[in-house]
Subunit: 151 residues, 2 copies
Amino acid sequence: MARAASTPSALLSSDLIRAAGVKVTRGRVRVLDALQDARQPLCHSEVEAQLAGTEDTAIDRVTLYRILDSLVACGLALKAVDTRGVFRFSIAGGQRQHANHIHFRCTDCGGVFCLKAEPPPPPKLPRGFRLCEVEFDVRGTCATCSTRSAA
Amino acid sequence: MARAASTPSALLSSDLIRAAGVKVTRGRVRVLDALQDARQPLCHSEVEAQLAGTEDTAIDRVTLYRILDSLVACGLALKAVDTRGVFRFSIAGGQRQHANHIHFRCTDCGGVFCLKAEPPPPPKLPRGFRLCEVEFDVRGTCATCSTRSAA
DNA sequence: TCTCAAATGCAACATTGTTGCATTTACGCG
DNA sequence: CGCGTAAATGCAACAATGTTGCATTTGAGA
Ligand SMILES: [Mn+2]
Ligand SMILES: [Mn+2]
Ligand SMILES: [Zn+2]
Ligand SMILES: [Zn+2]
């Protein structure tokens, strides 16, 4: 089964940052690398933890907040709030390739799988309402997890 | 626009609370009244401000958090996070009456609005996958919030 | 190399939400 | 009504997340 995956592009973070028109700093490169490697949007503390796993020096907490916001400001990252009210960051553009099909989320392993079906058309909205995003969320257990739990 | 979870009845808050199976306290009645009167989901501080406008004594900050959560726990209120990561509360109606149509969630105020359209049918899944839940999430800004942000 | 706006580190602060515990209160029951 | 008790409240402390101000350092163009 085709797993939803991050971009296979070997574009260096430093190149992306330079192309975005902001200074290439060690912090920005490390954070963007972390977002690229991540398989889901990361919150501030998760990025911090990821960075702590490296041998490099730690980035200041406030600086990390500012780096994340700067990546969003220059279009390299996306910022969204999760159900607990915490901001999560992901690389921008990674979602575009998954725009015209729907996804299945395994509630067991957390995996996201691409389905063949197209997303349903957005409904008609009352006057004055502004559509921003339509998400068809299909949840359950994937084949692997279903087999394992049936055993 | 028909707001989701609007109660057509003039049921007293105290009756609703009693029927929900929890103790009828002055705080719960006042908070539920505030949510009923509100035209949009209110966050903690907004409920606090609303209550401060009355002549009654102020409710402790922690108690207000606990009252709001208790109203959610007993099914009288709904809790959703807004775009800034703040929880907003609104009165809940019967959820059964909202089974056959889809909803629009305002990412600004957290409000939930009933739409006329039916929910889309569940997609066909790959072999071995087990469907558990399907959710059609339509997000954007409601008429009120769209007007306000355009100003 | 020089220069300086941009980025960083650090301290302090703000907002939102939670936990522990002593006190008070709602309400079922005799 | 008056009791007993579990639930609810008030208060202090704490936690998590995010922001502001300011002095210092640094990326990168001239
Ligand atoms: Mn928050
Ligand atoms: Mn996909
Ligand atoms: Zn799975
Ligand atoms: Zn709204």
